[in-house]
């Protein structure tokens, strides 16, 4: 099993519903977020191009955060989801420094927090909260090892990219372009 998410940058309108859904679902403290939206503007006027990306933890296969964690609090569970065990985390910040995507943050209670791919929902066969709430259905989630899953099919048919492939992290958050 290999969970992954594909973000359709052609369909995303940057409404921020995924961000709010995540904050509500996961009780993210006020002022913090586990997912966020980046607007990338490139080109010269009048030929400007906008790309909207809903970003979160990339649940990397070769995850630098798991490697550098001194206590083993950061770990990978079944399906390749990267998680933090709160009462093993000492809040040293090594994982935050090591993440090329700035996807982690120190929770006000001390431990390091991040996107969990809504593991509590996914293990019950549901989609992550951000995916379910997206009004343009631009988020696709599923198992890459299953060729019939939503995410496998769309990655087969569309062009995609990942962020900072040169970091060698093998991220599992795909952006359809």
């Amino acid at each position: 099993m290999r969970y992954a998410m594909a973000v359709d940058t052609k369909k995303c309108v940057g409404c921020g519903d995924c961000v709010v859904a995540c904050q509500t679902e996961n009780n993210v403290p006020h002022g913090y977020c586990r997912d966020w939206i980046v607007e990338n503007v490139a080109g010269t006027y009048p030929k400007l191009e906008i790309e909207l990306r809903s970003e979160r933890c990339n649940h990397c296969e070769n995850s630098p955060c798991v490697r550098c964690c001194p206590t083993g609090a950061s770990h990978i569970v079944d399906g390749g989801i990267v998680l933090v065990t709160h009462d093993e985390c000492i809040g040293c910040g090594a994982c935050i420094e090591s993440c090329p995507y700035d996807a982690r943050y120190p929770h006000p209670e001390g431990y390091v927090d991040k996107c969990t791919f809504c593991v509590h929902r996914v293990s019950d066969g549901e989609n992550p909260a951000c995916v379910d709430v997206c009004p343009t259905s631009c988020l696709h989630f599923g198992d890459l090892d299953d060729p019939n899953s939503d995410v496998s099919k769309i990655l087969k048919n569309r062009k995609w990219k990942v962020l900072a492939p040169e970091a060698g992290t093998n991220p599992q958050l795909y952006f359809l372009t």
Partner: protein, 313 residues
């Protein structure tokens, strides 16, 4: 034009708009750790070379400081933790992949060792000192028999500690400025040089100062070579690495780095040391003070600059 904006209002403390999670605690610790490693290495080395009579500051005086340096350093590390009450989790597991884990274990070994080493000399350094417990007296007699073994272990652990202060940062793939393998040797050499500077400052013997100053000069020039090497390596790297090196080549850390680290922290004290060896009168504390200051500023600069650097996408 190329512009990236967070349109969902992301403004997380310590992370946005640029990473500044580690502030003064980590560089202070890296400095104290390197300094302690330097002092312990040379205390062990000259003890093994049977220089106990000639090199009293190296073997007896300076190591008195080390337990305090390490405890202050550990205190700074503790202050840096965000989930402080769980710090003991560090010592429930050994993770070889994580430099921070084996660094924590090395500290666990070298701190008590430095206390025992200082304890075996404390009555020689302070003749009026008396152990409050008779048991400690017996322990001192016992530990004195194993000084040679301790010296060997101290030298090995000091090298690991010195390298670890650099590897801690170079293990972070996400920060191009840190992610260079030269950082380990560079921090080791810099730490040893600050250790020597501290011993020279404390030493009153002409012979000892001369020997240590000569060694320190070598370390300073190796450090300069490594710094040039680091910048050349970054310049020859990817776009992210080039941008990281630009922070020192016209970017916001240029003045701090070249004036306070390279000029005042390395070149100027090295010149003073050369003059001192040639027989000119130089205030004894000045080169040492400058090298120590340079070492401290160096760690602050590398830490702050490194956190700004990142992959570009």
């Amino acid at each position: 034009m190329k512009e990236e904006l967070f349109v969902s209002g992301r403004n997380i403390p310590h992370i946005d708009p640029y990473l500044h999670l580690w502030t003064w605690e980590i560089p202070l610790y890296l400095f104290l750790g390197g300094l302690a490693a330097g002092i312990l290495f040379f205390a062990g080395y000259f003890y093994i070379m049977h220089k106990e009579r000639d090199m009293t500051a190296t073997i007896k005086w300076a190591p008195m400081l080390v337990p305090f340096l390490l405890v202050i350093g550990l205190g700074a590390l503790f202050l840096d933790l965000h989930h402080k009450l769980y710090f003991w989790r560090l010592y429930t597991i050994i993770r070889l992949e994580s430099p921070m884990s084996w660094g924590a274990w090395v500290l666990m070994a070298i701190t008590p060792l430095s206390i025992v080493w200082a304890g075996t000399y404390v009555r020689e350094v302070f003749p009026n000192f008396k152990w409050p417990l008779a048991l400690l007296n017996d322990f001192e007699t016992f530990a004195k028999k194993y000084r040679k073994a301790m010296a060997w272990v101290m030298m090995i652990l000091a090298v690991i500690l010195g390298v670890y202060t650099g590897i801690l940062l170079s293990a972070f793939n996400a920060r191009p400025l840190w992610n260079t393998s030269i950082l380990g040797p560079l921090f080791l050499v810099s730490g040893f040089s600050t250790g020597l500077a501290a011993i020279i400052w404390m030493s009153k013997s002409k012979y000892e100062r001369k020997v240590l100053t000569r060694i320190d000069l070598i370390f300073v020039f190796v450090e300069l070579f490594f710094i040039i090497h680091m910048i050349m390596g970054l310049q020859a790297g990817s776009q992210a690495a080039i941008e990281a090196s630009q922070l020192f080549l016209g970017g916001e850390f240029t003045v701090t780095f070249w004036i306070f680290v390279v000029l005042l922290g390395l070149l100027f004290p090295a010149t003073l040391e050369i003059f001192e060896l040639r027989g000119y009168h130089v205030p004894g504390w000045l080169p040492s003070f400058l090298i120590l200051m340079g070492g401290l500023v160096f760690r602050f600069v590398i830490l702050e600059a490194g956190q700004i650097t990142r992959y570009l996408y």
